[in-house]
Amino acid sequence: MHVSTKRLASSRFAFPGASDKEIRILKRNALIDRAFERSTQAFALAVLLLLGAILVSLCVSSWDTLSAHAVDFLTGDRWAANMEMFGALPAIYGTLVTSLIAVAIAVPVSFGIAIFLTEKCPEILRRPLGITVELLAGIPSIIYGMWGVEMLAPFLNHIFPDLFPAGSGLATAGLVLAIMIIPFITAISRDVMLTVPPITRESAYGLGCTTWEVVRGVIFPTVRHGMMGGVVLGLGRALGETMAVTFVIGNNLFFHPTITGQGTSIAALIANQFPEADGAQRSALLALGLVLFLITFAVLATARYMLNRIERRAA
């Protein structure tokens, strides 16, 4: 669409009647053009470098652990800094379990809210409710953590004393995470469901479908990938969450195959121990950070792939 201004400016033949001054202005603008493009490109490249820098710095600073005991690190079943035992298994297990619990609870609820918002909600409520959900997605995670430890944990302990003898645990953390990501997944699912063209929807209703049949047979198949992408983005959030989790996860550093019992997550372990850590412990914690980054990287790449498919379709 743009003809190269550089060539135009440098060629007298393009503007046979142009004065020297005009050509000088053209040349100067061509220079600004190139400077503008190059400088914005430099910033874009900086983003690329940033990811590289994060990976490199984490690798370098955790090299002692990775090079010396990579296998022990990934399979060790306890994290005892005083004995220089750094097993990441309890933290990895806790991270995955809490996130999966969160997603298992949040997905049906979020989809339910999204279906309600797009299909059933009275017109007057639709906008305010939608905005409320989006606003709630912006509440900082530390608030969820504070609420979890002050209200939810004692509540669970009170209602199910046998399952939650201390209130805190992996399941409690999973529940707090679920509450945290519900608005997030709801907002994405609703946006994705709204990309279904009204005409498709109306045709299905016209054939006599019930609302549920429209949702299941028309909307879900059309935006399957987009909704999955939203779910996986929510999962990514839950995996890396620190503040909502540390308060209520129970912080037990031994590997116990438990759901309601105490455990720890990668982010919680880093938050608890990093300020005090030195030497081997710090290196091991940074290695743990690298593991978390790689897990979330894989999850987010999947999510992006799925969301990109829906975006291409929408476009």
């Binding site: 603008n29 509450i179 880093i270 992006r304």
Partner: protein, 283 residues
Amino acid sequence: MRHYTSALYRRRRFVNRCAMVLCLLAAFFGLAWLVLILGTLMVKGVSALSLDVFFERTRMRDGGLGNAILGSLILTSAATAIGTLVGVAAGTWLAEYGGKSRLARAVRFINDVLLSAPSIIIGLFVYAVLVLPMGHFSGWAGIAALTVIIVPVVIRSTEDMLNLVPTELREAASALGAHRWWVVSRVCYSGARAGIVTGILLGGARISGETAPLLFTSLNSNQWNFFDMQGEMPNLPMTLYQNMTINSFIPDLVNLAWTGAMILTLGILILNIVARFVSRQSH
């Protein structure tokens, strides 16, 4: 009339009713928790609210949150300013020059990854590259961490918004003899301004509540810090965290933490609403 009473019809209607009731229940379930949280926040937050909260520094007795609020404002606005510069520039390149090139696709993908990278990892990264070499926690490190978090948000919204500017506008300007940089900075930006500002505001709202990246970067302080970026910078999220943990043996400080939580949430909600208002203006 037969098909209205047929078993199939009844079953379809039944399934539909069940599904819709479940959706309604889900909506109630989800919103109930959130109402509970906001309710707790308001009830517990209001109890310790007073003017002193805004003008006193944090201390063990009779303190406020003034220094923490000021510090949070400094950190957030500085990170937002730097993030705007970097993010708008990079987003411009992606939308206007990058197109579908391999480099642009790579940057876009990496940006999406960074957009939802765990914030504690960002904190570790800044600790490794800034705090360790400098030898101490500092406001600069906190700003760096928050900048890394806000930049992807701004890039994303800038690119999306510039893509919404119709190509015809660019072509019209070019046809009149405008140079590319002029087209971008005068035509495209003015078309996408509201959207970009919205993105920046939402990014600012997001980073103002981040705690994990500040744990190892700006740390916290109980003193007023008027722009001594070399020193530890007090901030609201860390103060909440400390008041709920090491300070939680003092009931007044726990109450103050709830008040701080309420102030923080209200601030973020207001930023969100302003952002929405700005984006509405453009339509």
